[in-house]
Amino acid sequence: MDADDYRHKFAEFLSTQPAGADLTYEQIVGAQSRQELGISSLTMIVLLMNYIKKYTNGGVAVRPEWVPRLNDIDGIASVLREIDASAAEPARS
């Protein structure tokens, strides 16, 4: 999946969340920043945790270095990609 795919994946995910209830799919895909979508920085972390729960069953911890990247949609898409990649890594024995 490329960056654009992750932008669409974020839009699909956000539309299932209370924070995205008043947003259309097109609004989310077309946005540049989370502020445009009316999402606060703390709510964005909540969304990230919900994403992790949904797609990795809570198997990935939120990393501090991700937080500054959650201000724009491209950054969010890149973090989601990293989360999926982390979840796909085989467990180390």
């Binding site: 945790m49 501090p64 500054p68």
Partner: protein
């Protein structure tokens, strides 16, 4: 010379503080580390199972449930300097997050000491009641730590040197709240309403802009007239004020609830945290662990 002495204040710095009412900047976190510390604090805020209150407007006291901030308030680099100014027994009684978004205005000049809280238009109580005189330089201190760049462009703090020596404002009087009014530049209030001399304004030539890099802090007396510049940068400015008093000070003695900024919180959760020394008075409820069970660190008298 021991580490303790090195990390405390020199006699000259103590004198400078007594004269000016503020001192800094001091290094705490590395410049690239500070934003990550704040990011972890934000994660703590979200994952906390026992928040002190539910308000997102009144940004007080998250050191009581966020492990990162529980550690921050007792950082030895901070506590050693506080000891040089207020003896060994030091209690953190409050923290306050100060975020300034790009384009946000500066904060108007103000000075406080008792942190008066209004129950109604006519009834007010001091948050702090000082019960004894001290031979130390002070019994109350604020440490303001920058977690992002806080230079002039980003809206740094400003001080009027020496202004702690007299009152320019009457903090016991109520103020009107109006977020739409531009003269209400003190978080929606107009602190200028409290001026003792309506014609007085800080002398522009004397004002000191306290520019901080991310990870640096400044120590000041809340009674020293201070404010902040507008944020004309494209980045958010993030700071945390942690406030300390001697445990001989009674905190929120007659106050059960705080109102302001269009919201209110109950103080059931509140308690002091000893970051150094002992509480020999028993005046205040104390927390040994934060609300999620994390033990508060304390700087011992051997400096560790």
């Amino acid at each position: 010379m021991s580490d303790t002495v090195i990390r405390g204040l020199t006699a000259e710095q103590v004198e400078s503080f007594k004269e000016n009412g503020f001192l800094g900047p001091f290094d705490l976190y590395a410049e690239d580390e500070a934003p990550l510390v704040w990011s972890q604090a934000m994660i703590d805020m979200v994952t906390s199972e026992n928040k002190p209150h539910d308000s997102t407007i009144i940004n007080y006291d998250r050191h009581l449930d966020c492990d990162t901030l529980s550690r921050h308030i007792a950082q030895p680099a901070i506590v050693h300097k506080l000891r040089s100014l207020m003896d060994d027994d030091i209690m953190c009684w409050k923290t306050h997050i100060f975020e300034k978004e790009p384009g946000d205005s500066g904060t108007g000049w103000h000075q406080v000491e008792a942190f008066t809280v209004f129950e109604s238009e006519d009834v007010s109580y001091p948050s702090l009641r000082y019960t004894e005189e001290s031979t130390a330089a002070t019994q109350e201190l604020t440490v303001w730590t920058a977690f992002s760049s806080a230079d002039k462009e980003h809206g740094c703090l400003r001080f009027l040197p020496g202004s702690h020596k007299q009152w320019y404002y009457d903090e016991t009087k109520p103020m009107s709240y109006n977020v739409e009014n531009k003269s209400h530049d003190f978080f929606g209030y107009d602190y200028a309403e409290l001026k003792l001399d309506k014609n007085w304004d800080p002398n522009e030539q004397e004002i000191v802009d306290m520019e901080l890099k991310a990870g640096q802090f400044v120590i000041f007396l809340a009674k020293c007239v201070h404010g902040s510049n507008p944020n004309i940068s494209g980045d958010k400015r993030v700071g945390l004020a942690s406030r300390y008093v001697s445990p001989s000070v009674r905190v929120y003695e007659h106050i059960n609830r705080l109102s302001g900024f269009g919201d209110a919180i109950d103080l059931d959760y509140h308690g002091g945290v000893m970051v150094s020394g002992e509480d020999k008075y028993g005046y205040n409820r104390m927390h040994e662990n934060n609300l999620n069970g994390f033990p508060f660190p304390k700087v011992e008298s051997n400096g560790r």
